[in-house]
Amino acid sequence: MIEVKEVSFSYNGSKKQTLSNINFKIEDGESVGIIGANGAGKSTVLKLLVGLELNYQGNIMINNLKVEKQNLQEIRQKIGYVFQDSDSQLFMPTVYEDVAFAPRNYGFSNEEVNERTVGALKSIGIEELQDRQIYRLSGGEKKLVSIATVLSMKPDILIFDEPTIALDPKNRRRFINVLNSLKGTKIVTSHDLDLIYDTCNRTILIADGNIIFDGDTKTILQNKDLLENNGLELPLSLQRR
Amino acid sequence: MHMADAMISPAVGATMYVASGLVAAYSIRKIRKEEDFKKKIPTMGVMGAFVFATQMVNFTIPGTGSSGHLCGGLLLSSILGPFAGFLSMIGVLLIQCLFFADGGLLALGANVWNMAFYGCFIGSLIWKLVMKKGMTKGKIILASLVGCVLTLQLGAFSVTLETLASGITELPFGTFVATMQPIHLVIGLIEGFITAAVLCFVYEARPEMLWNGTQNTEKQAKFSYKKTIAILACLLVIIGGGISLLASSNPDGLEWSIEQITGDTGVEGRDDAAHETAESIQSATSFLPDYTFKDSEATIGTSVSGIVGCVITVVFLMAIGYVIKIKRKKGNIVNE
């Protein structure tokens, strides 16, 4: 369970508040989309959840643990964070080594590491990529491997930052299928509202560091005025042609 | 300039490995003490790759048709500080020697010393001195120029010394130095200008990225510099000792060139203890005395037959290899 209570945040040295007094609660197993224009504060919310930024005011609880320095290791083991840029997320030379990175660092035995690695790759159907060099993968494959690298931690919560940004339609469809097949709490940020429509039943709209809307995905994605006021457009699948 | 394996004797190579290894070990210790040490590691890797890639870019030199390149030691340490910069350069040099035949496994220690050590440590020492009272664009240009020229001069001089101590060329010391230094002066100037241009851009865009010579706690940094210099001095003594030892075992190396210049043969000096030790080391390392062309008329006969034998064996082996290859190909066709 994720609980964000009266959270405000501004980056080091910046006077502007990136987030001001944010409140929301995400129950186990929910799929939540976070949408908003560039610079609205979506990525900042995600960074706060995993403790990449710690100097916030208010209270953030993950599975009843406050996000602060001494709890970080425990919290991060529970959260899988898939970055926007796969090339930055995947830093080991081969697929296997990258997927095995997290379980190794969390100190599992060699057998356990291997079992988790192969398991993660299998669960999204890419075990044939195991021995490939990362730089030889296509954009779509990289995205799937990125997911596997966090699945090997067996996290309760999955976070995706702009996941479909560099994917072609076919890979995007494959990604959505994989995403929908995954269990656990899911948080997705995107400008791709069709993606949100296909994967999340709840959506939070952020603008200028404030939550403008929090509720049913269908409701907000049909609200043309609200979306357009916030730099977004109706999803294609809902536009009347 | 990357030294190739053939330019260096194992003894000189090993000496340089020890010297570079000590500096690396010390740098790792220093890095570990830094507050954002974990963050430094990925930065070192990514910036190393960046330097590697930018070394491939040609820069047109105004007024001439030719082009210059970036070397990167000073650039790296102006962002990362000397210790992280040095470690990052080691990574770059290792990969260059393995994948691109720039340098070699044996010469790696020497190359790290000649390029990474001077570039990062001497370079950042100059950087720190110039930036003492705050950073300006002019100071960045000054530090880049002085830093690049000086570190490249030191590097080139070391290449000369190492090559001569290895005794692989008949080139006299004077001629060698007289060719190496001016070439590297030009290279250093160009590199200095490129480095300055890049750093000025960074200074305007994101000045907080540049290393200001203080890092985390100022006291520690000051203290560490004294230590660094002390270690440097020790290392120079070790290396100096190593090289002179080698030189004495290698009459046609350094000593020979010094002899050329001074006209003094220094024959008396050759009976001293250092020479004897070197001699005994040499005779211990070569299990059988080398039979060479130079020794006497008698060995010429065996040498000629040796060459003949060698040619016969090589041809024989290549013929076998050729047959195997044809068979393999045939096998593949059958399999398909």
């Binding site: - | 394996d5 590697f52 393995l98 060479t292």
Partner: protein, 266 residues
């Protein structure tokens, strides 16, 4: 810029070869690394006038290229630069060291000529030896071998990261260069006015990338003291290979085997 294309091609080629399933690929990386280092040390320690032993050392290279079915075609490109360098150094030898030892026809053979050839051969052989190592061993395996000889984790991690991001950056530089050249078709290199912004911009981007890489590592529990590569200890086969090669080296380096063979024919 050709250099960038070549570098990308080289990395691709090496990687392809190293992950290829040849016989030498199954030998333990530590064994291959040690053999290569020993070879280079034995090679470079040969006396500068000892052409025969230097030539004899080529037998190892021929054997390895046969066992591993390796081609030296790609190595030749990188050889050019080194050969030029060694030639500049070596050319002084025939000029300054002119003791005539024998004649072939009327051409005098001097000690200087011998030592120049020895130098060139050493240069070629040393490069080929490390080239064969990297052709049959992937970077992870080399890092594992370095770990076994106690290279610190920090350095190994840095090496692996550099290797991982070389291609990413080379491709980025390639794109930048194409974009630059399309608007400045007659320039062979980057104009001095663009030096700072072109490379500086790339540098800032790489610092940002480093930040994300750090975050990604951190979120997956990065611990600089654990080393992460799957690999087994050297097996029997590898050690047998090691011993055989060592024996070969000793024969080539210290036994005048070719004088003996040549003696039979002369």
């Amino acid at each position: 810029m050709n250099k960038i294309d070549n570098a990308i091609k080289t990395v691709h080629h090496m990687d392809y070869q190293a992950n290829h399933n040849g016989y030498l690929n199954t030998i333990h990386p530590l064994v291959k690394l040690l053999i290569t280092i020993i070879y280079i040390i034995l090679l470079t320690s040969i006396d500068k006038y000892n052409l025969v032993t230097t030539l004899a050392m080529s037998i190892y290279l021929i054997l390895v290229s046969m066992i591993g079915d390796l081609s030296i075609k790609n190595a030749l490109k990188s050889l050019k630069v080194v050969l030029l360098l060694l030639l500049i150094l070596g050319i002084a030898n025939p000029i300054l060291d002119r003791t005539v030892i024998t004649y072939i026809g009327i051409v005098p053979i001097t000690t200087g000529i011998i030592s120049m050839f020895t130098l060139l051969l050493k240069g070629i052989f040393a490069i080929l030896a490390s080239y064969f190592l990297i052709l049959t061993t992937s970077i992870e395996e080399i890092c594992y071998a370095l770990k076994m000889i106690h290279m610190p984790n920090i350095l190994i991690t840095v090496v692996m990261l550099i290797y991982r991001y070389i291609i990413v950056f080379l491709k980025e530089v390639q794109r930048i260069w194409v974009a630059y050249q399309m608007r400045a078709p007659k320039q062979k290199g980057v104009h001095y006015k663009a030096w700072g912004s072109l490379i500086g911009g790339l540098m800032l981007r790489s610092i940002d990338r480093a930040q994300v890489v750090y975050e990604s590592m951190e979120l997956r529990g990065f611990d600089p003291d654990t080393f992460f590569i799957k690999k087994e200890k050297a097996d029997k086969k590898s050690w047998i290979y090691f011993c055989l090669m060592l024996i070969l080296f000793i024969i080539l380096r210290f036994v005048p085997i070719f004088e003996i063979i040549g003696g039979i024919f002369i």
